[in-house]
Symmetry: C2
Subunit: 197 residues, 2 copies
């Protein structure tokens, strides 16, 4: 890649990161280009789609989440590891308002630039889930795709201004549904791990 192109690319990524933090992932590409002092066509040549731009911007974060999952796979408490990782995932999405919709679309669109990252993330979550299920502390009627969907739904909640204040609390609610409290299938007994408030 030519030196000037590389410079433009890096600068665009920096500007895009700031713009997305401020306005969410649906920020106008034209605005990003304008702020970066280049033409829209230049941005679109470096990143042909919004997904491609996001992939370049987020792949570090994706790697970190995947690494975190791998690390947690050796944790003492499989269910704590699972919940902790899920919490990290939902917390991460709050930095990129609106990214959830794109990820949900990308997970099944092999053409999307975000596809591979999403699939990897789902697999990482699936491993943590399987381990918790093996330990008898997570319900066995869900799989990695269900987990991905639940996290996506919770992340989406955090994206909605009116619902975001409840997102953390509802994370706990959903988490309590994923964990079995060591009993399996039908109903968990009283005294479950739920806080009030």
């Amino acid at each position: 890649m030519r030196a000037d192109a590389r410079k433009n690319r890096d600068h665009l990524l920096a500007v895009a990161g700031a713009a997305i933090t401020e306005q969410g992932v649906e920020v106008s590409l034209r605005d990003i280009a304008r702020t970066a002092g280049v033409g829209l066509a230049t941005l679109l040549r470096h990143f042909p789609t919004r997904e491609a731009l996001l992939e370049a911007l987020l792949h570090t974060s994706f790697d970190e989440l995947t690494a975190k999952a791998a690390e947690l796979e050796t944790s003492d408490s499989p269910e704590d590891a699972l919940v902790s990782w899920l919490r990290d995932c939902t917390a991460w999405t709050t930095e990129y308002r609106g990214v959830t919709v794109l990820m949900a679309a990308a997970i099944e669109d092999t053409e999307s630039a975000l596809h591979a990252s999403c699939v990897t993330l789902r697999a990482a979550g699936a491993r943590l889930l399987t381990r918790a299920q093996g330990a008898g502390t997570a319900r066995t009627d869900i799989d990695g795709t269900d987990l991905f969907a639940l996290v996506a739904a919770l992340a989406w909640l955090g994206d909605q201004p009116s619902l975001a204040p409840r997102a953390d609390h509802l994370f706990d609610v959903v988490a309590s549904a994923i964990l079995t409290g060591s009993a399996s299938s039908d109903t968990e007994g009283e005294g479950g791990p739920r806080a009030s408030g």
Copy 2:
């Protein structure tokens, strides 16, 4: 209202209903107007915003859901009533792909044409929830707003093509989290573990 205006309005509603069923609530207003054989300006005068158009289209459905909730308030089993109504709500949203995002935005936007309907719906759900909580069959650390958010999140899942296949199953998962478990009803029958998928 003048007779010709009334005719246009009714025709627009019919066309809009069909278009939304086909393409979701984000269908182009220009397309609706074109299909109805009127100008875009005419559609926008009758329904100044997309929300206004939806409100006119959906207010019957909203009324039905609210009435259903009122009816269920006298049911024998408060928790079955609650879950049944929540299921009706999520099922209903599948007919109007994408409506959830607008409802989430409308619930706190007093200017939105959908605001009143959403608030009424939330209140109806809150009453069913309170009754189940009074009966000791629903967890007491959630309120009507939490319930609205959970249903919205599940409805959003159903809107995402990649996640929709799991929506029904995840409804059961979330429902099990809302109920405290002294009588978990019908969520058992539809197949056992589905660990790999």
